[in-house]
């Protein structure tokens, strides 16, 4: 459990600075420090066990089926890293307390820092590689926040984004690699994976896994060619650079190499990939570092170079090299963090980090200078400092290594690397502190406050101590870690400052001397370097990203060009493809169902249909004419339903048809009456082809269905139970209101919502652009002055009651004969519509002031309540009941609960239709400049002659 707490403590603790910042900066820093210290103490409490060779584990199930669990383990490697993270973290917190300005939001800084710390600790303590992945990505995210901490700096933003992108990308690569690794090993637990080295290396998936994992490691550890984000990340506040970009985060990649060393190393691929990239990075970055004028830039490339060296060491694949690597991790952390803090002090005091503006600070900042000399010497690998020892160990391994059959290749490259390392280390120390004093520094430098230099001093002391007594100070730890990394293969290694005169010593000596010479030649060398004009990786990256985003935008906008027609063509095409693909990929046998001979009238109807369709398609630009033609199709379809034994369908089709036409006419009134020719011949051809394919498909499907009998339908049950169970003989209606009443329930809801939406759409039509357009609307056709023709009005007065009776009749008989609530509702609606058409909206509506909303609401509620009542009686929703009731004089009447349901349907229909009509004519009325007519008919000879205007509100009452 302790391990989980160590990992989680910084996360939970991230709240502490956020909460304590109100109490002041000291309190905030103290709280943060306490969190880290507590974690460190917890960690150290486990150290004895670990140093004794024990592996401490904590296992908490999280996603057990995935194999992602909160499994932590602590071995020496973890202990070393965790100690480093927490220890240096503590120092960085102290340092940051003094480094941060008063205006910098400290609470946020420390909160982010703790998040990062937690993520790092999590990485090194994870026993589960998926868990490790989580922490891995969290380091990317938290470092993003830290790098971008100073939001006003564009470099900070860009640096943060670049770091996130590159390391994030690496993280995703790592996900792939680790998942494969887990697959090969059969577990995501490191403890298992580390035991499965042989199986892993024998697997055909080894190479892809390795490549993907290295993608993660190399990006995180800034290996070439992914190194370029690191220098730009240095825009972050110095404590961040010191912590993330030298001591901890960038080492995560190296850590993982070390962690997975037993499982992955030892193969040729590993050697060339890891060793090669590491070595190249080491040399390349060292060269670049020498020519950086910015202190942090120099240190950044130096860090890259050292990370390259570490990678190279683990890449060599020998236990001894691994030991050297482990040892150098510690060493590098000490001197590099110290140097970063030092650079921060210089920046803080002198106001610049530019080497060209610095120099001669030795007298002004003696403490800083001393620390810099020592740390710089350690970096240059000068005895008796720790950097020297690990470098010697590295050289020892390097001279034995051979690549591509060339035994000199590696040593020579290494030699170049350490030579440049020495040179830039010298340049840092000499360039800042020695040489001539400048006339004016941007600000007046003097030694920093204690709190600011003390942390680096502590690190330098450590560097010296390790250098002087490596076996004592670092020996047990290094050996333990090496054992953990190599799985015991490294054996006990005695760390010593002095190894006697040997080739590595000579190389070291040569490098130091050569470095000094190189520094003296810096000016001409820098000129050559500038002249080389190596491409700037950041520019390349920015361009790539911008080009990517641009291409993405272009692609997106090219594909989604706003054309409904393209969208529909794609959708229809896809549907045709799916159906045709399905049809063609399975066997089909033509059915044997006999066909019905078509009588002449059927052929005539078919001709009508074809003619009507052709007329609409060819003449669709004349919108009004198209509406006339489309009626023909509705008529033929209705006739077809009549002929093919579907009376209910015919009735419904007939009545729906006309209401639809009326709505279309109402809308068309305010819309353009013609459609211009807009699509090219090619487009029309495309559409024609698509239409033909779709038509053929539909015809084929229909034909195929009609020619086979198919399995018995469930409707046999409906037929058999319609009367006995549903109380009706019109099986279609019984299905609608009983067997599948739930469908009908949904259907009327659809109708109701449609009306509501129509209402919502039209209610606002008189406002904004639409209102403007309505106000300026001019009829595009000549109009007859007569609004309400007399004969029509008279006829509809007679037709309304007649049609109402018909509607009632159709409603009542629906359960047993063709008819039902929907048709009845439509018939009544049509009768009313006729009235409105003849006598005008204003006049008619005053005579039928219904609340259409209420009609719809009532309809749906009645239908729902029919079902609920059944539930209250203990039966399922919509369970029907019917009873033949004897009413005096009238006789036996079949009363069915489904009738109540049908009433709901009818009301909803009438409400919906009338609501739509009401608002459509409202909109048209707004376009009209005429006052609404209060007269039911324009011409009425029986009317008294005009006696002068009266207000319209005075209205004609009945």
């Amino acid at each position: 459990m302790t391990l989980a707490w160590i990992a989680l403590l910084p996360f939970l603790g991230a709240l502490a600075p956020a909460l304590t910042i109100r109490l002041g900066r000291n309190a905030c820093a103290l709280a943060t420090g306490l969190v880290t210290a507590t974690a460190l103490v917890l960690l150290l409490s486990l150290a004895p066990q670990v140093m004794a060779g024990e592996v401490v584990t904590t296992r908490i199930a999280w996603f057990p089926t995935l194999g992602l669990n909160l499994n932590f383990f602590l071995d020496a490697l973890g202990l070393m890293f965790a100690g480093m993270i927490l220890g240096i973290g503590l120092l960085v917190i102290i340092y940051a307390r003094f480094y941060l300005n008063k205006t910098d939001p400290m609470g946020r800084f420390f909160a982010f820092l703790l998040l990062f710390q937690g993520a790092m600790v999590g990485i090194v303590l994870s026993d589960n590689i998926l868990l490790l992945l989580i922490f891995w990505e969290l380091t990317s995210l938290s470092s993003f926040l830290l790098i971008g901490y100073w939001r006003h700096l564009p470099e900070g933003r860009q640096g943060a984004r670049m770091a996130l992108t590159i390391t994030g990308m690496g993280g995703l690569s790592l996900i792939g690699g680790l998942l494969i690794l887990g697959q090969i090993a059969g577990s995501y637990d490191l403890s298992v994976i580390l035991q499965s080295g042989e199986a892993i290396q024998a697997s055909p998936l080894y190479l892809p896994a390795l490549l993907l994992i290295l993608g993660g490691c190399f990006t995180k550890s800034a290996q070439f060619p992914f190194h370029f984000w690191l220098p730009h990340a240095m825009a972050a506040p110095t404590p961040v650079s010191a912590y993330l970009h030298s001591a901890t985060m960038v080492k995560a990649g190296v850590f993982l190499l070390a962690r997975l060393w037993p499982a992955l190393s030892g193969t040729e691929a590993w050697f060339y990939l890891v060793g090669g990239v590491g070595l190249f990075t080491m040399v390349f970055a060292a060269v670049v570092a020498l020519f950086k004028d910015d202190l942090k830039g120099l240190l950044a490339y130096s860090t890259i170079s050292h990370l390259g060296m570490l990678t190279f060491l683990f890449g060599l694949g020998t236990p001894a090299a691994a030991v050297a690597g482990v040892f150098h991790i510690i060493n590098h952390a000490t001197f590099k963090a110290a140097l970063f803090m030092n650079a921060g002090i210089v920046d803080h005091e002198a106001g610049t980090r530019d080497l060209r503006k610095l120099g001669g600070l030795y007298t002004l900042m003696p403490i800083a200078a001393t620390l810099a000399v020592l740390a710089g010497a350690a970096m240059a690998g000068i005895p008796p400092l720790n950097g020297f020892i690990s470098k010697e160990m590295m050289l020892e391994e390097a001279v034995q290594a051979s690549a591509f059959g060339l035994p000199w290749l590696i040593p020579v490259m290494v030699m170049v690397g350490i030579l440049f390392s020495a040179a830039y280390a010298f340049r840092y120390v000499v360039g800042v502190y020695f040489g001539p004093k400048r006339e004016s520094y941007p600000s007046k430098p003097h030694d920093a406050p204690f709190g600011m230099w003390a942390p680096s001093a502590l690190l330098v002391i450590l560097a010296v101590a390790i250098g002087l007594a490596p076996a004592l100070v670092a020996g047990p730890l290094v050996n333990a870690v090496a054992a953990a990394v190599t799985g015991g293969a490294a054996g006990e290694k005695h760390l010593a400052l002095w190894h006697g005169f040997n080739l590595p010593l000579a190389m070291s000596l040569g490098a130091v001397i050569g470095g000094a010479i190189l520094l003296s030649l810096h000016r001409p060398a820098a000129r050559i370097w500038t002249a080389l004009g190596l491409p700037d990786a950041k520019t390349l990256f920015d361009r790539t990203v911008a080009a990517g985003a641009g291409a993405a935008r272009k692609t997106t906008e090219l594909v989604h060009n706003g054309s409904l027609q393209r969208y529909l063509a794609m959708i229809l095409g896809a549907a045709i493809l799916a159906a045709a693909g399905g049809f063609l990929s399975a066997p089909h046998v033509e059915g044997l169902r006999p066909t019905l001979a078509a009588p002449g009238a059927a052929i005539v109807a078919w001709l009508l249909l074809m003619g009507g369709t052709a007329a609409v398609v060819l003449g669709h630009r004349q919108r009004y004419l198209a509406l006339i033609f489309i009626s023909v199709i509705g008529l033929v379809v209705s006739l077809g339903f009549v002929y093919l034994s579907a009376p209910d369908l015919a009735l419904t089709q007939i009545s729906v048809e006309v209401v639809t036409i009326l709505l279309l006419l109402l809308a068309l009134n305010l819309m353009p009456k013609t459609s211009p020719v807009e699509s090219s011949r090619a487009r029309r051809t495309r559409d024609g082809v698509l239409a033909s394919l779709g038509g053929l498909g539909m015809a084929g499907a229909t034909w195929a269905l009609l020619r086979r009998d198919g399995p018995p339908s469930i409707s046999e049950f409906h037929w058999a139970n319609s009367y006995s169970g549903g109380g009706g003989t019109n099986v279609v209606n019984v299905i609608l209101v009983d067997f599948r009443g739930f469908d009908t329930f949904g259907e009327i809801i659809v109708l109701g919502i449609a009306a509501l939406t129509i209402f919502a759409l039209l209610e606002t039509a008189d406002r904004g652009a639409s209102g403007q357009r309505l106000a300026n609307w001019m009829p595009d056709q000549r109009r007859s002055p007569e609004r309400h023709p007399m004969m029509l009005v008279v006829a509809t007065r007679l037709l309304l009651p007649l049609a109402s009776v018909v509607g009632l009749y159709i409603f009542l008989r629906g359960h047993n004969e063709p008819g039902g609530g929907f048709i009845a509702g439509l018939v009544v609606s049509i009768a009313l519509l006729m009235q409105y058409m003849a006598s005008g909206y204003a006049w008619s509506n005053r005579r039928l002031p219904t609340d259409h909303h209420a009609l719809i609401g009532f309809g749906v509620t009645v239908a729902a309540l029919t079902g609920v009542v059944a539930m209250m009686l203990g039966a399922p929703f919509l369970k029907s009941a019917y009873e033949y009731v004897s009413i005096p004089l009238i006789g036996d009447v079949g009363l069915s609960s489904a009738l109540a349901f049908d009433i709901g349907v009818a009301f909803t229909v009438v409400g919906a239709v009338m609501l739509a009509l009401h608002h459509l004519s409202g909109v048209a009325g707004r376009a009209e400049k005429l006052p609404p007519s209060d007269l039911p008919m324009d011409v009425d000879p029986s009317r008294a002659p005009a006696v002068g205007p009266t207000p319209p509100a005075g209205g004609a009452g009945a």
């Binding site: 194999g67 939406t757 399922p876």
Partner: protein, 508 residues
């Protein structure tokens, strides 16, 4: 029969007309009722889930007509999951709509919202293919209303496209139903599965044509490329709460693909078993890619969110297309995650737009604006969720999918696409966030925006959604446990048909 099965449908079905009848002008009461209904649905959903967790499949026969002759509602673990996801989404979205005053910006917001939930719940519960069509229509037409709510030329233009595309989709749905009914003589999905299994080989072409067309129709709802075209503009043009609610609409498509394929073209279907899978995968991959390319290419945050929905559907469908219990369980974990995270992003985009005045949600720097600190934090977390980074549920979601598709045909493609698109989206969100929040620190001037409505409440709602994602992550064990059981239940050839058809079998 458990009467509670109808509750998720009945609650909105009774409430919405009630609001229509009596409460059209009573905003406060409507709001109270609406929130109450959402809470009730959440409670009922949880109750049903608890019940379904036992593994029992509950069947409710509408009108007491047993399947396959009548329409049945079926509650299994999967439908319970969908109900709860819907309810969890609906509550904060409704709260946000109220907090931002959206429900005052037009008519009938609350009834439409309730009808929308009715349609969703119905679609998740029904066991009948045609009834599914009806509920599709209910949820679609309610969505039209919600989508257009508030009006404006841009919204209306987008609305025309949305409506027309879906009308075409409904037509295709009926074609598929017609083919399947004609070839199998039934509408109940479980029964259809049995009929498909028994169908003579000569009928297979028709059945498969119908089946694939059906899947294409569901794919249209699920924004499967190239059927996705309706989505970006619709989601980007409508009001934020509507877009947030719509996050579940695409999941209806995914749910239906899963339900339909497993019941009708499941293991028992012999030669036709899992036939839609191979068609689905390439489309899902294209969806994934095109979606996240859109995320990177967007000019506005809402467009970005809309494309993120497409992309996340690609992710989800990649997993679904494999049709293995593992991949399905993974997809089902990713489903609520992507729903809630997309909702959070839409709401957040709205908050940002509201505070930036004329700058709106464009991905360009503006002068500093109100609540930038809080919003940037929320944005960071939301982006993490949408991209699929730890610590939120997107990460385990993607891990689950990657883990599950390993070894299947096309698994490597899925890996490559998911990992690659994650990079793209990471880049996109980093750019977007930096443009909106970081660059605004240095941009001169000030934004002209009216004071945000209920700023704390809105932020709290987004935070609540993120908290739900956190909960999904923390409770990963129990959740995946439930989902594994869900997948097992779905892939159990007998469980679903037995539960649905037992009564009629006994009668026969």
């Amino acid at each position: 029969m458990n009467p509670w099965l109808v509750a998720p449908i009945l609650i909105p079905a009774l409430l919405a007309p009630l609001m229509l009848l009596f409460l059209r002008h009573r905003l406060v009461i409507s709001r109270t009722l609406s929130v109450g209904a959402c809470l009730a649905m959440l409670a009922v959903g949880c109750g049903l889930m608890a019940q379904a967790a036992s593994g029992q499949i509950d069947v409710y026969a509408m009108g007491d007509w047993m399947a396959p002759f009548g329409i049945v509602l079926v509650l299994d673990r999967l439908s319970a999951l969908m109900l709860v996801t819907t309810a969890v989404l609906a509550l904060p979205v409704m709260a946000y709509a109220i907090a931002s005053g959206l429900d005052r910006k037009g008519w009938h917001f609350h009834p439409l919202f309730q009808f929308q939930l009715l349609g969703l719940n119905g679609a998740f519960l029904t066991g009948d293919l045609f009834n599914l069509f009806v509920f599709f229509e209910v949820l679609l037409i309610a969505s039209y209303g919600l989508m257009l709510h508030g009006g404006g030329a841009a919204r209306l233009k987008a609305g025309v496209q949305y409506v027309v595309v879906n009308l075409v989709g409904s037509t295709l749905f009926l074609v598929a139903v017609g083919l399947l009914y004609g070839a199998t003589g039934t509408l109940n999905m479980a029964h259809m599965g049995e009929r498909v299994a028994q169908a003579p080989a000569g009928d297979h072409a028709l059945i498969l044509a119908g089946g694939l067309l059906m899947v294409a129709v569901f794919g249209l709802k699920a924004a499967l490329v190239p059927l996705h075209f309706w989505l970006p503009r619709t989601y980007a043009s409508t009001s934020a709460p509507t877009a947030a609610l719509f996050a579940i609409m695409t999941k209806v498509g995914a749910y239906c693909i899963l339900r339909f394929t497993t019941t009708v073209f499941g293991e028992g279907a012999g030669e036709l078993a899992w036939a839609p899978g191979p068609w689905l995968l390439p489309a899902a991959l294209a969806t994934l890619l095109l979606g996240f390319i859109g995320v990177l290419g967007a000019r506005r945050l809402r467009k970005m969110a809309a494309y993120a929905v497409v992309g996340s559907m690609g992710t989800l469908l990649c997993a679904l297309a494999m049709f293995t219990p593992e991949s399905t369980a993974a997809a089902l974990y990713y489903l609520p995650h992507s729903t809630l995270s997309a909702a959070a992003l839409f709401l957040l985009a709205d908050m940002i737009a509201a505070r930036r005045g004329d700058y709106g949600d464009t991905l360009a720097p503006s002068p500093p604006f109100a609540q930038a600190g809080v919003l940037s934090g929320l944005f960071f977390l939301t982006a993490i969720a949408v991209v699929g980074l730890p610590p939120l549920s997107g990460f385990p979601g993607k891990l689950l999918i990657l883990d599950a598709v390993r070894g299947t045909t096309g698994g490597w493609w899925v890996w490559g696409f998911i990992l690659g698109t994650t990079v793209i989206s990471l880049l996109a969100f980093a750019r977007a966030g930096s443009a909106i929040f970081w660059k605004s620190v240095v941009t001169e001037g000030e934004v002209k925006a009216s004071a945000p409505v209920a700023p704390q409440a809105s932020a709290a709602i987004v935070a609540a959604l993120l908290a739900a994602l956190a909960a999904l992550t923390i409770a990963g064990g129990p959740v995946t446990g439930y989902l594994n059981a869900t997948a097992a239940q779905i892939y159990d050839v007998q469980a679903y048909p037995d539960a649905v058809l037992d009564e009629s079998r006994a009668a026969r």
